[in-house]
């Protein structure tokens, strides 16, 4: 019998709204990179039967063409579908402490609403159900993945 190999999987799908405008930077060799945070709402029924809501905040990073498209189309309050993988991001605080957080490196981002919404934080905190957008018209953009593995991120 052939030897089995461990399945290697790292896939995340999220829908949420941007808590702020995306931050776009360039690496020293000119590669564009976009960072933003999305708020994901979840409604659940507590043990006592009341409907509660909790919000999860997840940092997203996008590279190259995807980063450019984020700059062009995304703003605070916009709804997005993000597909990608989980990775750690390590950094040092000003007083030299090492910190690490998890973020999603996006392979694909789909814009789920068209107009820039100006309601801001209030919008981001709304449950997804209440955030139905009549003119929603998905536009998909994808990181073609070609240079995916050249980046140490």
């Amino acid at each position: 019998m052939p030897e089995l190999k461990l399945a290697n999987l790292n896939r995340t799908f999220l829908i949420g709204r941007l808590t702020k405008d995306p931050e776009i930077r360039s690496t020293t060799n000119g590669t564009p990179v976009a960072n933003f945070t999305i708020a994901i709402n979840r409604r659940y029924r507590s043990q006592t039967g009341e409907i509660k809501e909790e919000t999860t905040y997840v940092g997203i990073v996008a590279w190259q063409k995807l980063a450019e498209l984020c700059r062009q189309y995304l703003a605070k309050g916009r709804a997005v579908l993000v597909e990608g993988k989980l990775q750690n991001r390590n950094w040092e605080t000003e007083d030299g402490q090492k910190r690490s957080t998890l973020e999603v490196r996006a392979d694909r981002i789909e814009f789920l609403d068209r107009e820039t919404r100006s309601e801001g934080a209030a919008t981001a905190a709304e449950p997804a159900e209440a955030g139905a957008v009549p003119e929603a018209y998905p536009e998909a953009i994808a990181d073609n993945g070609k240079s995916d593995d050249d980046l140490p991120f």
């Binding site: 399945a7 995340t12 829908i15 994901i40 905040y57 990775q87 998890l102 050249d150 980046l151 140490p152």
Partner: protein
């Protein structure tokens, strides 16, 4: 035409190995909860064409029956596949700094190692 609604999606599927033995605890009202520390590797070629390994660490939280099974069958080094959702948790340190962590709240685990009967498939 009816209005389009934005669905709720928060889904993670990830495989890795435990970096230490699971820790089983019970909440004050008797619910089992188990935290797992998971590591997974990714190989990639850097700008100079050399292979590099990149390890990601994540905490996985399981509850109830899953927590008990995990505690019984898994140990440091066990390979596991986890399916669940991301949850962020914030707290304040003693020095008043705000910290946030992101964890996976597991709703299904698949043990990737024999012995047989080791598969768990539980939806709470």
């Amino acid at each position: 035409m009816a209005e389009i609604k934005i669905p709720t999606i928060n889904r993670v599927i990830i495989s890795g190995r435990l970096t230490r033995d699971p820790e089983l605890r019970y909440t004050p009202n008797g619910k089992a909860v188990c935290n797992l520390s998971l590591a997974f590797n990714r190989r990639y070629k850097d700008a100079s064409g050399q292979w590099q390994d990149d390890t990601t660490y994540i905490t996985v939280v399981c509850w109830m029956k899953t927590a008990e099974l995990v505690n019984r069958y898994l140990h440091r080094g066990s390979p596991v596949l986890v399916e669940g959702r991301l949850e962020s948790r914030s707290w304040e340190t003693e020095a008043g700094q705000k910290r946030t962590v992101i964890e996976i709240r597991a709703d299904r685990l698949d043990f990737l190692e024999r012995p047989a009967n080791s598969e768990v498939d539980i939806d709470e």
